[in-house]
Amino acid sequence: MSAAPIRISRGGRASRGVLIGGVIAAFAIASLPWWLGIGAADRAVALLVYLLLAVSWNALAGYAGLVSIGQTAFFGLSAYAVIRLADAGVDPYLALAIVTTLVTALAWPLSRIMLSLSGGEFAIGMWVVSALAHLMVNLDPLIQGETGTSLIALNAYAFDARAATTLIVGVIATFGYLALLVAVLRRPTGAAISAIGDDEIAARSVGVDVLRAKRIVFVLAAAGAAAAGALWLASATTFQPRAYFGVHWTAYMIFMVLVGGLGRIEGAVIGAIVFFTIETLFGATGAWYLVGLGVTAIGFALLLPRGIWGALGPRIGADLIPTGFRVLDIDKTKKRGGT
């Protein structure tokens, strides 16, 4: 009796639906100013920035098991570099693309030093990197210390055109980044990355090049944070170092990923939407707001460690964004404990 060939699924009707839904969502967000007026563009960009931060932070923590307190290093450096390039006469939108590439390239050599740390040491080590970047940026006379400066070059564009362009650039960056991340995670490298998140020692023992996989994720996560920083600057137009390197951004990232669900792209997306909704409803009301976010994050860590998606996903029974493999025949025959 020969075994029936095992059929493997890498997605199904639900994930094709999500793909189509994603494309529709991208167009819907890009066209928001036509529906709700140009004022909606800024809020839409904020949502895109949260998406980028949540998804990239989750890639680092959820897949590679690396908690970073200092992704703000890439976020802030990238915004600063846009200011610098624009000051040198480069078109601000072209600067966004150049800067994201530059900061991402910087992450590769940095990963060599930082990835020799692990766990809590990596977490605060990245915080030190961010603090160092912050201090260095403050030294630049153009920035005038904590006073900051503005992206004056954007004045070359009319206000409406600027808001709409920023939004379209943001949609392309965010959805392009999501597509890139899913593509990487579906490749063999992605399987290696997921294996590290599950159990680093076990992954090493089956021949995964752990350091290489971690470096790839580190650079990918840096790219997400860098794109978010450049985008935030294009939308806010003012650059005050503290507003970009501030640790509150890390609190947002951790909140989004813990609430949405650590280790799943779906979770990060849900977390970003939840955070965006909370922020839109309550407004950023200073310190008590952050206390609330912190308490909620601790609560999720203790009571619902897999977040909203971890509770919802298994009930829906679907891999909306399929990055792994599923054996179909096991799904059809009744599961008898274990997998």
Binding site: A61, G65, V67, I69, R112, I113, M114, S116, L117, G119, G120, E121, A123, I124, G125, W127, V128, V129, A131, L132, L135, M136, N138, L139, V247, T250, A251, I254, L258, L262, G286, A287, W288, L290, V291, L293, G294, V295, A297, I298, A301, L302, P305
Partner: protein, 292 residues
């Protein structure tokens, strides 16, 4: 120049006092407490609030006891439960959440004003010793260094010589085996966390006596403590003392080079230490590979 050198060593004493609690928690619980700096600041506020009522010394003792209790509570309610889930990242994330909550709650309740403990200790805050060579050093800085040495010495002695120390080391080596041998692992971990928090409280008192602080000072203290730990290297707590002094010297050198170079010097020393350690590990692995 030699005066700056002496000052840097004394500042290093403060950093090692800051770092002692963090290093203790890391060495016995394998956990970096991201709320360490916030607890330091909380303790300073406790002493500030209690001193007018019960006097400085009693307030300092009360702050240490309260922080010891807080450490136990945090271990039982947050750290142990987060570790129980099998998700290695959760304790780390939970301590970050705690830091965010503490910092912002202190800011909301107490406002942005800077505070100092100096008014409660009379002329001690400006009293100084004269060293040979006409170098004046603040008494508080000297007492802080002495306190750091005593705290580290006492902790090392406690870990090596007392039954509690043996229990803590047993639990940190292998929790379940220690449990089989009749050690109450949960209680021991709670006590260890309490000790780490009480050490943070002592550092908070030193911080408040040295100068002024504000509600968000915690993250800077956490970074100083962490940098001292990493520069000193893993191992005996005494390394923290060396790490703190090297950190302070690097900051002093940074300040000599550029007026804003104080913190940058410390951060660069940290990155250098990480690089050297990574190289050291690589060389070590090669040597072992060549042997075996």
């Amino acid at each position: 120049m030699s005066a700056q050198f002496v000052q840097a060593i004394l500042l290093g004493g403060y950093y090692s006092l800051l770092a002692a609690g963090l290093a203790f928690m890391f060495s016995v619980m394998r956990l970096i407490n991201l709320a360490h700096g916030s607890v330091v600041v909380l303790a300073a506020y406790l002493v500030w609030a209690l001193s007018p009522e019960i006097g400085f010394m009693a307030a300092a003792a009360a702050a240490m006891v309260l922080c010891f209790a807080l450490g136990g509570v945090v271990q039982v309610t947050i750290l142990s439960r987060a570790t129980g889930g099998g998700e290695a990242l959760l304790p780390l994330l939970a301590t970050f959440g705690l830091a965010v909550v503490l910092d912002n709650a202190m800011f909301s309740v107490l406002g942005a004003d800077t505070r100092s403990l100096a008014p409660f200790v009379g002329d001690l805050s400006w009293a100084s010793f004269e060293l040979p060579g006409g170098i004046f050093v603040g008494r508080i800085a000297v007492y802080t260094l002495i306190a750091a040495i005593m705290v580290i010495g006492a902790t090392e002695l406690m870990l090596r010589r007392t039954a509690l120390g043996h229990r803590i080391r047993a639990v940190s080596l292998d929790r379940s085996t220690a449990g089989l041998l009749g050690v109450d692992a949960a209680r021991t971990a709670a006590i260890a966390a309490g000790i780490a928090f009480a050490m943070a409280a002592l550092a908070g008192i030193a911080m408040g006596l040295r100068g002024a602080w504000s509600p968000y000072a915690g993250s800077a203290q956490l970074l100083f403590a962490f940098e001292a730990v990493v520069i000193g290297g893993i191992g005996s707590l005494w390394r923290v003392l060396a790490g703190g002094i090297v950190l302070a010297l690097a900051q002093a050198i940074g300040a000599l080079i550029h007026p804003q170079g104080f913190l940058i010097g410390g951060h660069l020393a940290f990155l250098l230490a990480v690089l050297v350690r990574a190289r050291g590990l690589a060389v070590w692995a090669k040597l072992r590979g060549a042997r075996g």
